[in-house]
């Protein structure tokens, strides 16, 4: 790749991911169709089959799906600089919007009508999380061990102060042990 071509790509990656960051609501998964359209259909930077693999990978490594996708695609298209440009692009709109909101939120919330609205919204957020939970459950819990792990984690988080970090580490180790024993015994 020539230097000039790379520079054009880096600039374009920044703009594409800036647009994706500014116009997708609802986080990572909602961004996937937009990323595909921009990267595969409009710019032909990555093949269709490859982008499917990329989405599978970025969802199973730690981190934010949208940011992971931006970094991976950026790296494939224009190397390290490409991944930096894409990551900054996708994060910038959130950063600006949320900074402005956070600066004024306390004043805003002292208006009685707004405080009442947020009382209602907190019940709505509960509903939103519960329905996301029901959707995620199908792909995440495949068997009885899955149910046991989920139930134990729920109990530990609800009745103790143990950090979620340790709980996740323990679950990963448990996953390794169950898979190992299963293979050994041929379940």
């Amino acid at each position: 790749m020539e230097a000039k071509d790379r520079r054009t790509r880096v600039t374009k990656l920044f703009l594409v991911f800036l647009r994706i960051g500014a116009f997708t609501f609802g986080g990572g998964l909602a961004m996937i169709p937009f990323i595909k359209r921009e990267i595969v259909d409009n710019n032909h930077w990555i093949e269709e089959e490859d982008i499917v693999d990329i989405f599978a990978i970025v969802q199973s490594v730690p981190g934010v799906i949208a940011v992971n996708s931006a970094i991976f695609v950026g790296y494939r298209v224009a190397g390290f600089l490409g991944s930096v440009a894409s990551a900054i692009g996708v994060v910038l709109p959130s950063f600006i919007i949320l900074s402005v909101i956070a600066l004024f939120f306390s004043t805003f919330k002292s208006i009685p009508v707004v405080a009442n609205a947020f009382e209602g919204i907190s019940a709505g957020v509960t509903a939103l999380i519960v329905s996301a939970l029901l959707n995620l459950r199908k792909a995440s819990i495949k068997d009885v061990y899955g149910w046991i792990i989920a139930a134990c984690v729920f109990l530990i988080m609800t009745v103790t102060d143990i950090s979620a970090v340790y709980i996740l580490l323990a679950s990963a180790i448990l996953g390794l042990i169950i898979s190992y024993v299963r293979k050994k015994k041929g379940w």
Partner: protein, 197 residues
């Protein structure tokens, strides 16, 4: 001040590193860390979730920025946001560079076999503690629920308005697939009507 910036960076690095499965999976970890550090009250983190849903962009970035501004102004937000993105950067660039097949390794798959249900348990616990603050008028600190207080004064602390809004919202979401933004607007309007009278 420098200590705070460093702490924001480290805390959000940890949050970024231990988020598997994106978005909602991050909620319990973010709430735990932010409330334990005393950066926000539990109630404020629920407001933050609502604001994140209503604004574009990924939840984790939105909450890192929000928490950063609340504690350390714009500079705080830069450190928090950089922190949450940094683990992704290191991991994803390494995978893109060396091996896209890394995730197919059995050891990764076995770890995920334990992690995926754990994430469901985490989100369930987050939903439960948010429901408790919403449905009962009792102060919740550090996300620990004061069960004894709730049982003692069950008649006076229960918030029927919130439970009503929850039922309307859950039916709208599951049965009619109402968009999350619309759902938040709807529950906001119901809140204004029910709590205003």
């Amino acid at each position: 001040m420098l200590k705070l910036f460093f702490e924001l960076l480290i805390t959000f690095f940890k949050i970024g590193l231990f988020t598997i499965g994106g978005g909602y999976a991050m909620i319990p970890l973010i709430q735990q860390e932010i409330v334990d550090h005393g950066w926000m009250s539990f109630k404020e983190t629920v407001d933050m979730i609502a604001i994140s849903e209503m604004t574009p962009g990924p939840f984790a970035i939105n909450s890192a920025t929000f928490a950063g501004v609340k504690t350390g102004g714009i500079t705080g937000a830069v450190f928090a946001t950089a922190g949450v993105v940094l683990p992704s950067f290191i991991i994803v660039v390494l995978i893109a560079k060396y091996s896209a097949r890394f995730m197919e390794k059995p050891v990764m798959q076995s770890a995920l076999y334990g992690l995926r249900p754990a994430v469901i348990g985490l989100i369930g616990a987050a939903a439960f503690s948010i429901a408790m603050t919403s449905f009962f008028n009792v102060p919740v600190n550090n996300g620990t629920i004061p069960f004894a207080g709730i049982i003692r004064d069950i008649g006076s602390v229960i918030d029927f308005k919130a439970i009503f809004i929850f039922i309307v919202a859950i039916v709208a979401s599951i049965k009619y697939k109402v968009h999350p933004i619309l759902l938040i607007v709807l529950s906001g309007v119901l809140g204004i009507i029910l709590y205003g009278i």
